[in-house]
């Protein structure tokens, strides 16, 4: 049964023939002319995507780890022949602060502050094709160190859609 199904999927010719047969059989009694099987959609070549710019944003708790990681990204990009336009870090980390009383009940003037820092690092890449982008990002993301978050913003450039033409009257 599976073999037949596989044949059904793979060979449009067989399918169309079979369709004709079954359809003919179905409508043999009725006078309705046999419906033509739906024409196969011509196999269009899937075009690769084009990414004008890819922006990587790394977040982490340790700036040294981020630096090493961005170094790795740049090394991988240069080995794969990808243009790196910019690489920089924020001068200061983003801090999430909680101010609490130092003492449990009294002494309101005396507070203690806790902060959680998030360090950022950015990397901009330029002009990647879809397959290059996928390969590179897969490689980079697989080697993401622990405690690092990565945000990849992809700017894809597309052709103007064909339906955006002024109406003909």
């Amino acid at each position: 049964m599976n073999a037949i199904r596989g044949l059904w999927r793979t060979t449009p010719l067989v399918r169309s023939v079979l369709n004709k047969i079954t359809l003919n059989r179905q409508f043999a009694t009725a006078t309705i002319p046999p419906i033509k099987p739906i024409e196969e959609v011509p196999n269009t070549v899937e075009l690769d995507k084009l990414y004008k710019r890819v922006e990587l944003e790394m977040r982490g708790i340790d700036p040294a780890v981020l630096l090493s990681y961005s170094w790795f990204c740049i090394a991988a990009a240069s080995n794969l022949g990808i243009e790196v336009t910019k690489s920089w870090a924020l001068r200061k980390a983003e801090k999430e602060r909680h101010t609490l009383l130092r003492c449990v009940h009294i002494y309101k003037k005396h507070r203690v502050q806790y902060e959680i820092r998030t360090y950022f690092r950015f990397l901009h890449l330029q002009r990647l094709t879809g397959s290059t982008c996928d390969t590179f990002l897969e490689y980079i993301e697989r080697n993401l160190p622990e405690g690092c978050a990565l945000k990849v913003t992809k700017v894809e450039c597309q052709k103007m859609p064909d339906h955006l033409t002024p109406p003909q009257e």
């Binding site: 002009r127 955006l164 002024p166």
Partner: protein, 341 residues
């Protein structure tokens, strides 16, 4: 005591301990007879056994792997993937830790600090190089003709911006990944002046005058694909809607104009009338003809037109007023304004 006498043989040394033991357990020893040699000795200090145990255990601990490593080994095989630091497989004399001045920081063995920090030992430059060589066949080159921003913008004017997120959690989904942004330059869309005006009114603040970009952002659907479709739908709908002319749009009159159009205003008529009168000609043009009358046929007419439009569109300020002043003087053939000190 009879037992002691029976067992006593010359030449065999019995210490006091054994004697004491025998004394205390006479009943049992009498039953077992000759087996008292295997009797468990009460070793209070337990010195002997402990030493033996330690010695036995140390023997089966292998020496460090790093000591046996050849100097020309392939490091990528030793440390193939991400892993916490392990001192016995890293042949480097690493130390880490904060110590008071003059002391050496803790070494690599039993150092939890080294285990904590994420290491890149699996990503040494030669390893990166070989791995990149391996994945290079999957990459394709950027088309050579698209070598400048202008060329890209000319052939691929639509920008679709999406974001992927990578984070540590059991699920790979991030709700922010659904957001899709689409940007198009307004000048790339084929619109006439009326359709352009309507398009701008439809998109509202999604149009940025400085960059000439129309930006559509969608985050209302849960999946990126849906948002992408929605953004495409928005662009298409706005575009085609701006081309359709409704009946009520014809009712738009001069007062409803959102900008000053010189050709539509009575100013134009006045200018043309003045031009004909100054040339002693009969002005018998209809209103439509006046509207389509070419201003450049009037000397200094274009300058005047620009100055008036600027004055109304930008508002009165020093530059526009000054421009208007010079334009009128030129048009009417008046002398230049004298600067009074």
């Amino acid at each position: 005591m009879s037992l002691f006498i029976r067992k006593y043989k010359p030449g065999v040394v019995y210490n006091t301990q054994i004697l004491w033991r025998l004394n205390s357990t006479t009943a049992e020893t009498q039953k077992q007879g000759e087996e008292e040699e295997e009797f468990r000795v009460l070793d209070i200090l337990q010195k002997k056994t402990r030493i033996q145990k330690k010695a036995a255990r140390r023997a089966d601990i292998q020496p460090d792997r790093s000591e046996k490593m050849p100097t020309d080994q392939n490091w990528g095989n030793v440390w193939p993937g991400p892993r916490s630091f392990h001192p016995s497989s890293v042949p480097l004399p690493i130390r880490q830790g904060y110590v008071p001045k003059g002391q050496a920081p803790p070494g690599k063995k039993a150092n939890a600090e080294l285990m904590k920090i994420p290491n890149f030992l699996h990503l040494t430059p030669p390893v990166i190089k070989t791995q990149c060589e391996a994945i290079k066949p999957f990459c394709t080159e950027w088309p050579k003709l698209l070598n400048s921003e202008e060329a890209i913008e000319k052939h691929y004017p639509v920008e679709v911006i999406t974001s992927d997120y990578c984070h540590a959690s059991p699920t790979i989904r991030n709700p922010l990944a659904r957001i899709v942004t689409m940007r198009v330059k307004l000048s790339d869309l084929k619109l006439d002046s009326r359709a352009r005006d309507k398009f701008l009114r439809l998109v509202g603040d999604k149009y940025d005058e400085k960059t000439d970009l129309v930006t559509f952002t969608a985050d209302r659907c849960p999946v990126r694909k849906q948002n992408l479709d929605y953004v495409n739908y928005l662009l298409t709908a706005c575009y085609h809607e701006s081309w359709t002319v409704e009946d009520w749009e014809k009712e738009k009159c001069l007062e409803d104009m959102e900008y000053y159009d010189f050709d539509m205003h009575p100013s134009k008529k006045n200018l043309v009338n003045w031009f004909f009168m100054s040339n002693n000609k009969e002005n018998n043009l209809s209103d439509d003809e006046i509207k389509s009358f070419d201003t450049s046929s009037i000397p200094n007419g274009v300058e005047y037109k620009n100055a008036v439009s600027e004055l109304f569109n930008e508002g009165e300020n020093v530059t526009t007023l000054k421009n208007y002043d010079t334009a009128v003087r030129k048009l009417l053939g008046l002398p230049e304004k004298k600067v009074v000190d």
